[in-house]
């Protein structure tokens, strides 16, 4: 088993702030380096979960649209939007999952707009759950303390 990319990024961030930063006199360049170090820490904390988050979000959107297929069909939704776009690439690369996600997010936004216009209350409640999942995966609350640690 090799050391992980995440661990390597954490070590790189530490090296930059503890060994390289003290060698730099220029205040601006020092701040810039420290910012990169903080960003590496953030990257290391989100990298491992990225594929899982995308898969979860994609599934949630697909399930929502499937649940309201008849409603959406009645509103000619599928004449414009295609859930299966970009799915020819079946790999679980993050870039492939992101492409699928972009299309699904476009579909979701259109469906959500339609639910609002038609005041479909249950669909709006279900859409809110999808939005909450999207946001939960951004991990904001987890990342803010990380910045505090690195502010110096």
């Amino acid at each position: 088993m090799k050391p992980s990319i995440d661990q390597s990024l954490i070590v790189l961030a530490q090296e930059l702030s503890e060994r390289v930063a003290p060698l730099i006199d220029n205040e601006y360049e020092l701040s810039r380096l420290k910012a990169w170090s903080a960003l590496l820490l953030i990257a290391s904390s989100i990298n491992d979960d990225s594929a899982d988050y995308l898969l979860t979000e994609n599934k949630k959107i697909e399930n929502l649209i499937e649940k309201y297929r008849i409603f959406l069909q009645e509103n000619k939704f599928f004449k414009i939007y295609n859930l299966n776009l970009n799915k020819e690439d079946t790999s679980i690369k993050i870039s492939s999952l992101k492409k699928i996600n972009e299309n699904l997010r476009t579909c979701f936004t259109a469906a959500h707009t339609l639910f609002e216009e038609e005041e479909n209350i249950q669909a709006l409640k279900d859409s809110w759950e999808v939005l909450s999942t999207m946001q939960m995966n951004q991990g904001v609350n987890r990342l803010v303390p990380l910045l505090q640690v690195n502010k110096d």
Partner: protein, 341 residues
Amino acid sequence: MQTFQEDLADKFAVYFTGLRKQPLGCKSIQRIFGGASRETYRIILEEDDGGEVNLILRMIQESSLIDTNQEVEYEAYSLFQNTNVPVPELIKMEQSSKYLGKPFIIMSEIEGQAASPFDKESYKPYQEEIGVQFWTILANITNFDISKINSDSHISMIQEDQNWKQQLDYWVKVIREDSIGVEPILEMAIRYLYKNNPKDSHQLVLVHGDYRSGNFLFKENIITGILDWEMTHLGDPLEDLAWALSSIWCWEEKNRPAYLVERNSALDIWEDATGLTIDEDSLFWWELFSCVKGLAIWISAGHEFQSGRNIDPINLFSAWMPGDIHSQAILDLMETRVSYL
């Protein structure tokens, strides 16, 4: 071989010597980190007799997040020289690129430090005193007599009615131009804002445009200068208030906006000092608008970074962190309003 900064220092000393008509040499030049719309330098010039002149040089960025006009910034600072809104003393605006390679503004350096808007400890132990000043100064800006603004001003003159829509249209356009992905939470907020407009205030005021924690200097318990006026425009009195209140600037203590005084106290100070009464629904609208405006700025930052035009880490940081925070802020705000939850 000279570095870019040494070369800039030499050119600046020559320029300033010409301006002051007395020989001056550059003792030090230091770029200030942060801020994405201008390159800002702290410069110390030395006079023949050993005296020092401490200056701030703000140069147009070749690639900045939002297109901002140098004349607007200069004019905004001009309006508040020697008033109850502390600002640095203006020295010169140079529109030509022939001296330093880019247009620039020179100001006197004022004492004080700027804090990170994400650090809840920044103003301790003076958060109460600074808080009273912060919200009072905002009220002073709101109270500014806009009839003093010249008719040929670069500060945008907008209609009194529907100024909310002009602002919203502007930032939505930025989002449409710079988005590198679909943001369903942001889209929901945009739809809500267009459908549920705020009351027209029928009172145009001067809006700083980026009045918040981190955009002022303070020394111990005194605010010494309000900075970053490049987004100044005329608009609704609640626009600046809502931006300053935004939870992004107090994420870990949401009831203490800007990590200063508690929200209710902040609103009381502002109402007392402006004589205006806050309409809660309108303030809600402007707070949600602040999230959309914020996301537009963060999206724009991400676009700059992704395109390679400006790989300053501040742009990557802006795209990653504040963007996520403002998305969460949208959900938090909408949760209090949508009837189906």
